[in-house]
Symmetry: C2
Subunit: 325 residues, 2 copies
Amino acid sequence: MSLLGIDIGGTKIAFAVLSEDGTLGSKETVLIEGRKGDEVGALITKTLKILQDKLAEEEKRIDSIGISVPGIYRQKTATVWAPNIPGWDDYPLLKKVKESSGEIPVIIDNDRACSMFGELWQGNARGCRNAVFIAVGTGIGAGILVNGEILRGQSDIAGATGWMALKTPYEEKYKGCGCFEYYASGAGMVKVARETAMEFNYYHGDLSDTDDGKLTASDIFEAFDSGDPVARRVVDQSIRLWGMAVANFVSIFNPEKIILGGGIFGPAEKYLQQIKDEAARWAQPISFSEVSVEVSSLKGDAGVYGAAYLAMKNRGLISYSENNV
Amino acid sequence: MSLLGIDIGGTKIAFAVLSEDGTLGSKETVLIEGRKGDEVGALITKTLKILQDKLAEEEKRIDSIGISVPGIYRQKTATVWAPNIPGWDDYPLLKKVKESSGEIPVIIDNDRACSMFGELWQGNARGCRNAVFIAVGTGIGAGILVNGEILRGQSDIAGATGWMALKTPYEEKYKGCGCFEYYASGAGMVKVARETAMEFNYYHGDLSDTDDGKLTASDIFEAFDSGDPVARRVVDQSIRLWGMAVANFVSIFNPEKIILGGGIFGPAEKYLQQIKDEAARWAQPISFSEVSVEVSSLKGDAGVYGAAYLAMKNRGLISYSENNV
């Protein structure tokens, strides 16, 4: 039995073949490289075909496909809204993939839910009924497990954690991304580092070369390690806000686990203790004493694991009580 | 069919008899007046007996009892932790009431859940599957409905909204109550008004008489209306924080309704539009466009309605899909 997990990101798409015991067979990644609309759909079906041909040579086949999308999957219309893929405002992804996959069942869910499912199946949330996966990458979102089920909200956009209000008063610059994401997402940290470098008089550090558009969050973490004052301010502020967000999830959800993942965790893993210390100051103390705050062990693979988990469920191979997908 | 809803607060206990169509028959309130531990249990059973005798004169009887408790109800041990009732750290309330109620079924839940159930049954949340009841009284808590079920968390303390981190950096004074509750609960507003009155030089306004311990949130709202500068600062700050908390619930839960209740809403109802305006700036915009933010129509009775609803459910009279109680 081979499960195909496809994790669509803003810049690349990962394809992973897994068995139903969670063993990762093979994984490959294709770059989106400026494609838009149906070109991205075509890239997926083309790669799927290549994968199928390759498996056929080994006399294997894909038995079920799960897809993680970066945005909203509208179950009623089977369409995708993905803000970082131009032309995917209401893209009929299920139809597109089914045209190519034939009899193989296909299931789609959003990346927040998929990451949480990945952690639940093969990562740090195994056995949990109540857990939160905070994904900090270019943006910030959360996959939230409540009593064994993914929190959906009335229209599948629950978990929009980037919009968490953590700092008063409101500033106009939060418009379009939200307060938490403005400061503490990957893109946010880069933007704030640039602003801060310009504010600091006589600053000529590693983060001062702000024109080439190539500054990344990794550069900021490196500069932090070498004592750069701009990086210090940006990272310290992010640690504080990550800690406050963790605290808010703890106080509101009383979960067993909070898992930090996405591209930033990753490099920001080394700040975990500081994040926990900050969270401990803010959170409801009994709830905080009961929660375990961890960094994802699946790292960037949480999405493909979760997509493969959905694929397995969609074949009726497990009886896990998740009613909504 | 008569349902008895009992709503235990920090200072008083309300007893209401309702029919299964939600008609409020009678309601009476007894004061706790410094009682503690088993004395409070005895006050409940004594009042229950008086009520039963009164109903018997009319040839009526109580068919089912529901009780709302101000804290945590531990279902496994059937005991109550209520921080504002001395001696109720692990009080066996179910056993106590059952000794007196005999054959009448008794069910207990926490006040956050009961308020939400009250709104769901007879208030503004009728027909909702995803809604949040933010109770602002002496403290702050929330009853949260997710996909038709109350959010419990791993140990029944989900919804500890008073601990929401909304202002950076952390201050030691938040310890013991949480940041949101420190500023924007009834007790918090009084405390902050006193601090502010002392900070303001030459202030001799209505809120300057801070020694007698009798200042209430209502005094602050009255002073606000007459232009008092201390009241203005305290109320403006509360409006901002209430708006941010509403926004955070909207972004995280994508609910159909947010209902503001508790003793403060009440008098703070007149600030609803300002709270909505503040929330609109912070929240995920699609989710915010889909939510209705309202003040409780049941006011202080949400708890007894919710308790009576539980009593009805416990008699198996309704089939509403709520698995956890």
